[in-house]
């Protein structure tokens, strides 16, 4: 019956909580509420706000460009999540299976966690450049016309590779930790039963570390939707022909290239609801898996 809640001075508690509450209210909650309000206006910079009711939402609903952006975002985030996790799982398993020098490999693999996405974008823009990229001539020698400034699907893939590259390290951090916690006895049992390495990974480890995997799905989804903004901005500016125009970039462009703040706010609100639903769904999912993982 022990408790940590030994301090009971409510005033003190309030004072200590004040900074967090004030910053949260002013810079997190209030702007969110404000976004909802602003979404009913035609608002710009230095030109006055005009109430337009649901016009912005109507425009959203009928904009094929926005619909495309939604689809691109979902596709992109899905590819990021799947790509990152598949690669990271293989890499983590590889490191897990190595007996000597694990620590060195780990650091050598997880460092892109610290890599600024803007740097990732610029470096990839440079090395994958259709004209001056270092590998361009080799890839073109294979018969592929590297032309991702004009070719949408190619641009999508290049940004995707950059995004995956940057995020694998973060995933490896969690996956190696989770693999390290798998009881040795299970590995030994599997080995005695003659289970192959791949089978051991898929049949034994993956189910055991599934809570970690669910957590990573959430983090990677958020990354896929928002964290990749610098790469898109620096590599493709959403193009060509909207092929990489993910929602966050579209939102940025509406707000800070076109100064359509009201319309942008409506996009924010939609994004907020989407994030909320997504998180809710995934938390439900992780709840279910929590039992599995014990």
């Amino acid at each position: 019956m022990s408790t940590r809640e030994v301090f009971t001075d409510h005033l003190q508690a309030g004072v200590l909580l004040l900074p967090t509450m004030v910053v949260s209210l002013v810079f997190l909650y209030y702007p969110t509420v404000r976004a909802v309000g602003l979404s009913f206006y035609r608002a710009s910079l230095a030109q006055g706000d005009v109430f337009v009711g649901l016009d912005n939402y109507r425009r959203l609903a009928t904009s094929s460009e926005y619909l495309q952006s939604v689809l691109i975002s979902v596709l992109f985030a899905t590819c990021v999540v799947v790509g990152v996790m598949a690669v990271a799982l293989c890499v983590s398993f590889l490191i897990h299976e190595i007996t000597v020098g694990k620590g060195v490999y780990l650091v050598a693999v997880i460092w892109p966690y610290a890599l600024p996405p803007a740097v990732a974008g610029l470096v990839f823009l440079f090395i994958a450049h259709p004209n001056i990229g270092i590998f361009t001539s080799y890839i073109e020698a294979l018969g592929v016309d590297v032309n991702w400034f004009s070719h949408g699907p190619q641009a999508f893939v290049v940004v995707l590779i950059a995004a995956v590259w940057k995020q694998v390290g973060y995933n490896v951090i969690f996956m190696t930790a989770a693999l390290g916690n798998v009881p040795e006895s299970l590995t030994e049992t599997a080995e005695l039963d003659g289970v192959s390495r791949t089978q051991r990974l898929l049949r034994v480890y993956v189910p055991i570390i599934s809570p970690t995997l669910v957590f990573l799905v959430i983090m990677n989804t958020i990354y896929g939707f928002f964290g990749t903004f610098p790469m898109v901005d620096l590599m493709t500016k959403g193009g060509p022909a909207g092929a990489t125009n993910i929602l966050i970039y579209d939102l940025y462009r509406t707000a800070f290239q076109f100064y359509e703040f009201g319309f942008a706010s409506a996009k924010s609100v939609v994004l907020f609801i989407a994030v909320g639903l997504l998180m809710y769904g995934q938390f439900r999912l992780s709840d279910r898996y929590a039992y599995y993982g014990g």
């Binding site: 019956m1 022990s2 408790t3 030994v6 009971t8």
Partner: protein, 379 residues
């Protein structure tokens, strides 16, 4: 040093009642142990006294002062925890002095003097510059005691302080704690789930169950005159045997009648009211023995399990559908399946109400039980 009085104290957590309106009086300088199964409310009671929890109802007094709403630091108590509660990043010395310095009630010289005194008593002078991680369990426990000691509090509160030690060390520390108390004579309230610890350490033992105080008594009286079936079964190992019986009366002769036995009950208080009704017959294992020959108070039983303990032979027996244990002479030649005759030491029998669990009769009625919920300071 001071006395502590709890009056009608109740504690609820989110609608769950942990302590149910208890009254308890702890005299100045006493060493009181509180024992009971986990979740019985004993720790909560201790924490209420410490001020770590606030009572939902009732009052707590220390000396003449009511301390119900008073901050722990103003109650002048020291507390020792099961896991020692040492700050891992501080040396033993700093652990001992940290609280004193924080309180600011003590001058530096005073602190130094106190530390010297306490560490000498506890024999931990050499350990003061080590951190908890470099100390053994026993040493850590001493440092934790030292921390409590230096403040020279009115009341020591100990929450299972020996539970994390191994068996041998526990026995050694137990003796040391007893010695410490006789030296300092500070009022001490000691919570434990271990009945042996409770019995060996306490002048008075408080038995709690399900948020209520079952009995407060000296260890021996607790053993000899359990007031409830719970106390009877909780104190003593193996537990007191309970057999369902009918009480028959034949003039002034009373008997406990089971399907396969009739055991005479010596005259004592309570028999009269029990007559003609059902009851639980309590027999401690050591009150039973294997008889050489059957007589009036003996009855047949079948041995189901034998456990040689060295100094005695523990037998599990069955008579009818009732099972019980007893200590036989070591090296008694019995095997599982043997049928034996058992005699009962009739002076050590107890009867309990099968519904309420309250004691209705003790065969050895020489002394009347003391008043519940008080501890007599004059032993």
């Amino acid at each position: 040093m001071t006395d502590v009085t709890l009056q009608d104290v109740r504690k609820e957590f989110d609608g769950v009642v942990a302590v149910k309106n208890i009254d308890l009086q702890i005299p100045d300088g006493a060493f009181v142990t509180v024992v009971g199964p986990s979740g019985c409310g004993k720790s909560t009671t201790l924490r209420l006294i410490a001020g770590l929890e606030q009572a939902t109802e009732g009052t707590i007094q220390m000396g003449n002062q009511e301390v119900t709403g008073v901050e722990p630091k103003d109650r002048d108590v020291s507390m020792v925890f099961q896991n020692y509660a040492l700050y891992p990043h501080m040396t033993a010395r700093r652990n001992i002095t940290f609280g004193m310095k924080s309180a600011g009630d003590f001058s530096d010289e005073e602190i130094d003097r106190q530390v010297e005194e306490a560490t000498a008593v506890l024999d931990i002078d050499d350990l003061l510059d080590r951190k908890p991680g470099e100390l053994s369990g026993g040493e850590r426990q001493r440092v934790a005691l030292g921390r409590a000691l230096v403040r020279d509090p009115e009341v020591f509160l100990m929450d299972e302080p020996l539970s994390n030690l191994d068996a041998k060390l526990r026995i050694k520390m137990r003796a040391e704690l007893a010695k410490l108390h006789s030296e300092f004579e500070t009022t001490t309230i000691y919570v434990t789930h271990d009945q042996t610890e409770a019995m060996t350490l306490g002048d008075r033992v408080v038995v709690m169950n399900d948020g209520r105080i079952q009995q407060v008594d000296s260890p021996q009286r607790l053993y000899d005159y359990p007031e409830t079936r719970f106390v009877a079964e909780f104190i003593g190992d193996p537990a007191m045997n309970m057999l369902s019986v009918d009480i028959s009366r034949d003039g002034t002769e009373y008997e406990a009648v089971g399907p396969t036995f009739r055991i005479p009950l010596p005259e004592a208080d309570g028999l009269e009211t029990a007559a003609g009704a059902q009851a639980l017959l309590g027999i401690r294992p050591e009150s039973l023995s294997v008889a050489d020959s059957a007589d009036r108070s003996s009855f047949p039983a079948e041995v189901t399990v034998t456990e040689p303990l060295g100094d005695s032979l523990l037998l599990e027996c069955r008579t009818g559908d009732q099972e019980f244990k007893l200590h036989a002479e070591p090296r008694t030649a019995v095997e599982p399946g043997d049928r034996v005759a058992l005699t009962v030491e009739t002076e050590r029998l107890h009867l309990f109400d099968p519904q309420t669990g309250e004691a209705i009769y003790h065969a050895a009625a020489a002394q009347s039980p003391e008043v519940t919920s008080t501890v007599d300071s004059t032993i």
